[in-house]
């Protein structure tokens, strides 16, 4: 069922939202107050909680997220039936919510004793009894909270609606948690192997390589890297392993087995080797004098850049190499990989997804590269402007067919978005100590003015176009139909608006809530007259006012 046209948000969605907010708030408080490390030396049940408690918590959250995501993706008709039933019932059962609060109070009281270590070991089994009571209180709180939002009958129907999905989610998350916890024991040997590989890469490149296997540290007299166990390469290897398995499972009809299975160990090995290359590059960048870039942007971005490269390489190989692809799929024209090829598609094919997404993907890719090459301040931000401008230019003929006529209403909506953005920023109090970034202040007037001009040009010109094409033009309508270009904006429903706005907000870093609200306003603007021009105009006005606000009042944290 397409999102947004029939699905009533008041029934199931309101309850799941309520439950998510309730549990997320409690989870944040628990995470801040409790430190499972204080139980590390305990024995029996208390020791088990110390060892496995955080993983159990991640398992519950992750399993629920996987189940909810795939039920939503695969069984929306069943969810709609449950949602309609729930419309007649109150959103919250207050007596059960009161029981939840009581159980949480007991849980908090027991937690303060269990995690303070004040229970005497001399009391036979005292600590284990306390741990058992703590577990019962915690489980009761979860159960009462869940039943307060959704009656037992609807829970049973919800779980049954996913058929065997609950079992798959349970098994996959248990395996992931066990593997995650056990993999920590592999960190040390894996980091030793990475250390050796990085050393081999650097030896022919660096004259005075300093190697200290005891720390273990690798570097030169000017810059040294200590290889922490977390940098072993296992995180990336685990991530690409899961990605490869799930991709082959999802697209199994397109793939030739068993040869496609070879791609999984191959991609794991490639990413592991690339991680050693990342460590070597870290040393080379630092040794070249760019210590801040090595320890800052490059360190935080290189892992993702390499993972994305291997993941895309995996998918391109599966689709394009005939030895891995089923003959019926191999006979189709190969997907275009370059921007130029997408703009000039093969004779009988087209790629409307590329038309709407490429400018935004250009901004994201350029942003990752610019951040990786930055040592705190993103000097290469203009790369984002050029990347989006190139993609917009390549597809300019396709954009000419859209309705670009703006209205004065869009100008007012843009001012409203700006107002929401500033109001939420003021409420957060983040702007109190904001000022011109030190790197920009220290730069020459020419460099500073050029950077500010290009930053403002991106905010006012390319970003509104790219984001409106991606979020309102593509994503919001793609939730409704695969042939998204045929979906009139005016037929888009609330769920598609909320979901695309949530994705829009998620990508707005420190201003996520403002991003969600802005997304909703911009979606309503485009829906009103089915005009992309309206959405872009509103976005341009909001970003232009924001740029003026940043420059006039020195609120640089908003950029």
């Amino acid at each position: 069922m397409p999102l947004g046209t029939r699905f009533q948000p008041r029934g199931l969605i309101a309850r799941i939202l309520f439950l998510s907010i309730l549990f997320a708030t409690e989870l944040v408080v628990i995470s801040v107050l409790l430190d499972s490390a204080s139980l590390a030396r305990a024995e029996g049940l208390a020791g088990l909680i110390g060892d496995w408690g955080p993983w159990m918590l991640r398992g519950i959250v992750g399993g629920s997220a996987i189940f909810a995501t795939f039920v939503w993706l695969k069984h929306q008709a069943a969810l709609e039936r449950i949602s309609i039933e729930l419309e007649q019932m109150p959103v919250v059962a207050w007596p059960l919510l009161a029981l939840h609060a009581l159980a949480m109070a007991a849980f908090a009281a027991l937690s303060s004793r269990l995690f303070s270590g004040s229970v005497s070991g001399a009391v036979a089994g005292g600590e284990n009894l306390l741990a058992l009571a703590w577990l019962v209180a915690g489980m009761s709180a979860i159960a009462f909270g869940a039943l307060a939002a959704l009656p037992l009958r609807q829970w049973v129907r919800l779980i049954a609606s996913g058929e065997n999905l609950w079992a798959y989610a349970l098994v996959s998350i248990i395996l992931a948690c066990i593997a995650g916890n056990l993999s920590r024991s592999l960190w040390l040997p894996a980091s030793k192997l990475t250390f050796t590989l990085a050393q081999w890469i650097l030896k022919p490149l660096v004259a005075g390589l300093i190697v200290n296997p005891d720390l273990p540290a690798l570097g030169t007299s000017r810059f040294r890297v200590i290889l922490a166990p977390e940098c072993s390469g296992l995180e990336g290897a685990g991530l690409i392993l899961a990605f490869g398995i799930v991709w082959l499972l999802l697209f199994r009809r397109e793939v030739r087995f068993p040869q496609a299975l070879l791609l999984i160990p191959a991609s794991v090995m490639v990413l592991f080797l690339l991680n050693a290359l990342r460590i070597a590059a870290l040393v080379l960048i630092g040794d070249a004098g760019a210590r801040q870039i090595a320890a800052g942007g490059f360190h935080s971005q290189a892992g993702w850049i390499l993972f994305n490269a291997v993941a895309v390489g995996f998918c391109v190989t599966v689709r394009n190499v005939s030895w891995f692809t089923q003959p019926s799929f191999a006979s189709q024209p190969p997907p275009a990989v370059t921007v130029a090829a997408m703009a000039a598609p093969a004779e009988h094919t087209e790629n409307p997804t590329a038309v709407y997404l490429m400018p935004f993907l250009g901004i994201l890719a350029a942003g990752m590269i610019a951040t990786a090459a930055s040592g705190g301040f993103e000097w290469l931000y203009p790369l984002r402007l050029f990347a989006a401008a190139i993609a917009l230019w390549v597809f300019r003929q396709r954009y000419a067919t859209l309705n670009w006529k703006p209205s004065w209403f869009a100008v007012a909506a843009g001012a409203a978005v700006f107002g929401v953005w500033i109001a939420l920023d003021r409420l957060s109090g983040r702007g109190a100590d904001a000022g011109l970034p030190a790197a920009l202040a220290a730069a020459s007037p020419m460099a500073r003015t050029s950077w500010i001009a290009l930053r403002a040009a991106a905010a006012i010109a390319t970003v509104p176009l790219a984001e409106e094409l991606a979020f309102r033009g593509f994503l919001m309508r793609r939730f409704i139909s695969a042939d998204f270009e045929a979906v009139p904006f005016q037929s888009v429903g609330w769920l598609a608006i909320l979901t695309s706005s949530a994705a829009f907000g998620l990508l707005h870093g420190g201003q996520r809530i403002a991003g969600v609200l802005a997304g909703i306003i911009l979606a309503l603007v485009v829906k009103r007259r089915s005009s992309m021009g309206d959405a872009v105009m509103a976005h341009v006005v909001a970003n232009a006012l924001l740029a003026a606000y940043v420059l006039m009042y020195g609120q640089w944290h908003l950029w």
Binding site: C177, G238, A242, W247, Q301, G303, H348, T349, R478
Partner: protein
């Protein structure tokens, strides 16, 4: 698209779970939103070609 979006949720969730509590991880979950969005968008474009 559903399959690709589901996969994106899985990647982001796993990155968060794998890297929770680690300092200086090779896959930094705090900067993952843009990276996963780029990957998801790239895969959608890759699979987006269709007959006219």
């Amino acid at each position: 698209m559903n399959k690709v979006l589901g996969l994106a949720v899985l990647v982001m969730g796993m990155a968060t779970a794998l890297c929770a509590g680690t300092t200086g991880p090779e896959i930094d979950a705090s900067t993952g939103a843009a990276a996963v969005a780029l990957l998801t968008g790239g895969l959608l474009v890759l699979r987006g070609r269709r007959k006219k």
